[in-house]
Amino acid sequence: MVESILFTFGLGAVCGLILSFASKIFYVYEDPRIAIVENLLAGANCGGCGFAGCSAAAEAIVNEEAPANACILVGVENVSEIAIIMGSEAGTAEPLKSYNNCDGGNRATDRFIYNGLNSCSAVTSLYGGKRDCSIGCLGFGDCVRACGFDAIHIGPDGYPEVDEEKCVGCGACETACPKSILEVRTVSQRLLHLNAYDNALAPCAQTCPAEIDIPRYIGHIRKGEYEEAVNTIRERNPLLLACGRVCPHPCESYCRRGIEDEPVSINQLKRFVADYEMNSGKRLPIECAPDTGKRIAVIGGGPAGLSCAYFLRRVGHHPEIFEAMPKLGGMLRYGIPEYRLPKKVLDWEIDGILNLGIDDHTNVRLGIDFDFGSLIAAGFDAVFFSVGAWNDYNLGISGEDLQGCFTGIDFLAKIGNNEKVRIGQRVAVIGGGNTAIDCCRTLLRKGVDKVYLVYRRTRKEMPANEVEIVASEHEGIEFVFLAAPNKVIGNEENQVTGLEYLKMELGEPDASGRRRPVPVEGSETVLDVDMIITAIGQSPLLAFRGKGDRLDDLEITRWNTFEVEPATCQTNVPYIFGAGDSATGPALVVDAIGGGRKAARSIDQFLKGKPVVPQPNALLNKHIPGTIFESVEGVIQKKRTEMPELPVAQRIHTLDEVDLVISEADALYESNRCLSCCRLCYNADA
């Protein structure tokens, strides 16, 4: 009896002694903060933070691999105490939320019949899943089982639905999903995500240069959720009122309904919800991430500059816009005439962006009112150039300096700025692009008797938007095709009296695939005009270079644009970024908006000290192979909603907006024409 008691105690004592000595000998320095932090964590070892237990999480927090609020269970007090221990600010991290990417679910087609275990990971190991779509939801609900907070359920259509109230952003569902249906992201991460090859993207969304999730916002309109539709558009495009009016909607060319029927009028739906917000009298709140304290100088307040500033502000940085003209908006204000985009509408939209806390300085031109060195001295961490393409090309013919000769953008900017311009009675506008058409239609509204549009190729080759060409035909503009201006004829008072041109004929196709016009010998013809506007293209005005500062190191292309890495918008000077017309040459508003967001993503990386790298798998407006169909089954012809417009007789005498917004009933009808496509599956009509 005594021996056994002695032995038991002895064994315990020996083991205890050995262990205590061992803990001295084999002592490994551990940050004392780990123990303190661990005490502040929930102690549930739930794994919600993504680490193996609370001690691992505490270690990660102390090693700054995880934020102070990594633990999803503890309250605000503990998080702030941890933050104090770590010497950081509490609550600087944005909340994570789970988002469902696939809304195909049961409508997706299967490759084989599967009767195995009801588990997504099991079916995935069988040839990557039973769906034809390689990325689509398999619907067995591994995410539902993984969620410890009962925030996910499989909806009636066979894909997961997330209850945002319950979701804590632990990431368990993303880990459990063998595809990437559920992604746990902060709002900032979502705002700066570029479309990728493995995303669930409809053909229209792949095509949109601003990468708007088109089927999603049309879906919101269908359910009458106009505010959600606006918010969905705003995740990608802050200028929805402007785009809803002026965008030539390249998306509609790839609309799947358009293969069998007329395409869905996507842009009119965008305009409908955008106008809905404006006319509702209140602005929808736009959430911004916590402040980072980083400052960015945005040179040029056009669509690219506004877009970049907007996205940088939303992810928590502080952009400041420097604009040479009296007001922000760039080409939206000075290049697009009032009748297409009323200034009142543009002002409302720009105010909404500036209200997020973006400072703007107008009437300041880089190189004249301030120089580049002063920006850096003022403590800006990065500079974004979006100076646009404001330099009109000249024809290079004699007589171009006579009175009555104008250039396209210069003319439109003067009109847009309400400057007095002496306008003739018979005008020739040279060029076939949108600027030329805008000049023609503006002139008509200024009371000009006759407007000629002189273009050296034919209507088929005109780069202007088809709708614009049709509208100007309706308004009575006379097209002079296959005509190359030869010289401008003037009188003794240096006033333009006519334009001599050579007739052309189409020859062999050139590098751009368009047939090259060749002049016909001895075909000189004189057009009797007293004003000439040259609108044959623009290039960026880079007069601020050559002053002996860092800007001289910038690489410039032979088109006088900034040489930028296309996937990141970074120039060869690491802290200088560029997008919009000044980086791409003249392009669409929506291209500039997409470019601004792409640049914002890179600037964000740069400001956070990460390497500026292109997003892996980024789509960059190419199409995902296999998602563009030749034919679409199950489409019943439904007439596309016509765009309401002012009657020609009424509109050509005023600068009132020509295109009108569609009615709510039409918007609902039009949204129901949408097939809600994804990569492969869609909702057929029948």
Partner: protein, 190 residues
């Protein structure tokens, strides 16, 4: 009994999992994924060899000498638990790579009945020290073999058409029974 027969007996004939039914909880718990099964097997090999030899020494030189054989179970539990703690500290300091590799499985098997069972079997079969060492090592190897075989099978049953009431753990137990029956074919070899 020669060492070759001992090795065969430990791995196959008297396989600790499939013939003696010890250590069933890690057998079912860590066999869902091959990766965890391998980690667990390594940790078991490591701990069983250490525990098997140390408990043999304590039994032979202390318990028998002081006539305290009836305290065997309690003594072994204390010894194994302390040993695992000690080894954990030692590895953390000296071989951090191995420590990180074994990870959570090391403390997990503190009270694994397979480890305890090997220690007890070593005594019951009246092994010499060297035999105890070899037996501990190869019982553990047998444990690893069975666990890895079973993990491979379970990864496959995920894809099989299993009737709903039998899914997951139930089919795993049925499978375990069948492998066990298969292992009974080794009976009588040694």
């Amino acid at each position: 009994m020669g060492y070759f027969e001992l090795i065969i007996a430990c791995i196959f004939v008297n396989n600790i999992l499939l013939a003696q039914f010890l250590g069933n909880c890690p057998f079912l718990g860590t066999s869902k994924k091959m990766e965890t099964a391998v980690g667990m097997s390594m940790a078991v090999v490591f701990v069983t060899v250490m525990a098997g030899t140390l408990t043999w020494v304590i039994y032979t030189y202390i318990l028998v000498n002081f006539d305290l054989v009836y305290l065997r179970t309690i003594a072994f539990i204390v010894v194994i638990a302390s040993l695992v703690q000690f080894v954990e500290m030692f590895l953390k300091k000296s071989i951090p790579a191995l420590y990180a590799g074994l990870g959570i499985f090391l403390p997990l098997i503190t009270t694994n009945c397979a480890v305890m069972g090997v220690c007890v079997l070593n005594i019951d079969k009246e092994f010499t020290f060297l035999q105890a060492l070899v037996a501990s090592l190869f019982y553990a190897v047998g444990f690893g073999l069975a666990l890895i075989l079973f993990a491979g099978l379970r990864e496959r049953t995920l894809l099989a058409r299993v009737p709903k009431p039998l899914q997951d753990t139930s089919i795993a137990l049925v499978t375990a029974g069948m492998i066990s029956l298969a292992f009974f074919a080794f009976q009588g070899m040694v």
